[in-house]
Symmetry: none
Subunit: 242 residues, 2 copies
């Protein structure tokens, strides 16, 4: 039972596929409306809708009189959503790889126990992973995991599935807390991230809850020159936040 997609959707998928597979790199020209009319045997309005929507979604940039081009995807991550960095990188048509730096069962410090909302220190899983985009380090992840909730976390193969992806697929997240700072990396961090001297980092500290319990505490460090954090959202009628 093949579900027939609308024509403009098929065209969108076709183009998005080329972008996300990397066949069409950022800056390259995509087929014009007339070319799509020819190759797909569709009307110009349908081709126009596909290109216009991809443009509204930020994948393409259209220049009247010139053509339509693949947009450079900003290296940035959402502050609102909990997204897997591997997917994020791959959706830009880039390659994600990771290096497992360390993995251990450790005794929580009092500060960490506080973050887990434990009365007394317990053992926790600790993991340090370096994420690379096209071979360039973009995130250093230091993560503690609550062993009472994700007991089989340590026996995962994180080259197949990132820690974030595993946790997202295993434990439903109810609540998120983010805290963002600018920091200067220490010597180890600077070396792992392959950074120049005197270059700052963004440090994103995240806690996530499931059914009232802290699942995981993570500190994600991004080289300032390679990543930005981003959020965009609609407000209520009063325009309340700020």
């Amino acid at each position: 039972m093949n579900q027939m997609l609308p024509l403009y959707m098929q065209v969108k998928d076709h183009i998005l596929g080329h972008i996300q597979s990397g066949t069409w790199a950022a800056g390259s020209r995509v087929p014009s409306e007339n070319e799509l009319v020819e190759s797909f045997g569709i009307s110009r309005m349908t081709a126009n809708r596909a290109l216009r929507e991809l443009s509204a979604d930020g994948y393409l940039a259209r220049v009247p009189g010139v053509g339509t081009f693949v947009k450079e995807q900003a290296a940035r991550t959402s502050l609102m959503e909990l997204r897997n960095i591997a997917e994020e990188i791959e959706s830009r048509g880039h390659t994600h790889t990771l290096q497992l730096i360390s993995r251990a069962k450790v005794m929580a410090s009092q500060a960490l126990a506080d973050e887990f909302e434990w009365k007394a220190p317990q053992h926790a899983f600790h993991l340090v992973v370096l994420h690379l985009e096209n071979g360039l380090p973009v995130q250093l992840e230091s993560r503690w995991v609550n062993p009472f909730i994700a007991a089989d976390f340590m026996i995962q193969n994180f080259t197949k599935q990132t820690p974030t992806a595993y946790l997202l697929n295993t434990v439903p997240v109810d609540e998120l807390e983010h805290s963002v700072e600018a920091i200067m990396p220490d010597a180890d961090q600077q070396k792992l991230l392959n950074m120049r001297d005197r270059e700052p980092c963004l440090s994103l500290h995240r806690r996530s809850w499931s059914q009232g319990k802290v699942v995981t505490v993570a500190t994600l460090i991004y080289p300032a020159s390679r990543y930005a954090l981003h959020s965009r959202y609609k407000t209520n009628a009063q325009g309340k936040p700020l």
Copy 2:
């Protein structure tokens, strides 16, 4: 001088105006495509585009065979803690003061015009303000304001009311975009913020929209040692905000 807007835009503005003025409450039915065809004297495709785009933007919900309805706006943003800095400082029981560094009407660069979503560069109001907490600089605000929307922005006395507070009270904000980076301050910024050498800053870039138009573009710079951004909110199972 009068810029002729595309027909589908006029229809969008017409509907958005009714929604944001409250004439059409959440849940109420908006005119059908055929009714818009009649009342505006346009083709159905044009009416369809207006309704479809407002639906994609989250203002309307369309139900095949039934009609198109004004959507309930989620009040999720009350959980995003990015508040007016004056209130925030005072809520800590500290004293907020500010210094007006500069105030001018300037010609927008092409990059700024892009941020305002203007086709061509126009004049914009520019303001630089230093915020202090108990006499210590904590935020350097560089703000550009759309003069077509907040025409009397420049004659305000910002020692009584911060620029953010004035804009919030004057223009209803319906959309916000934030982008956070870590930067090294330049010499001027470092001096104004009274910072030591080699200390990084958080740079928060903010755009706000009202009725589809960019009201203001601001860059807020915080010394890393004195500020962190914080947010906490509930999510659905996929890690997306409610």
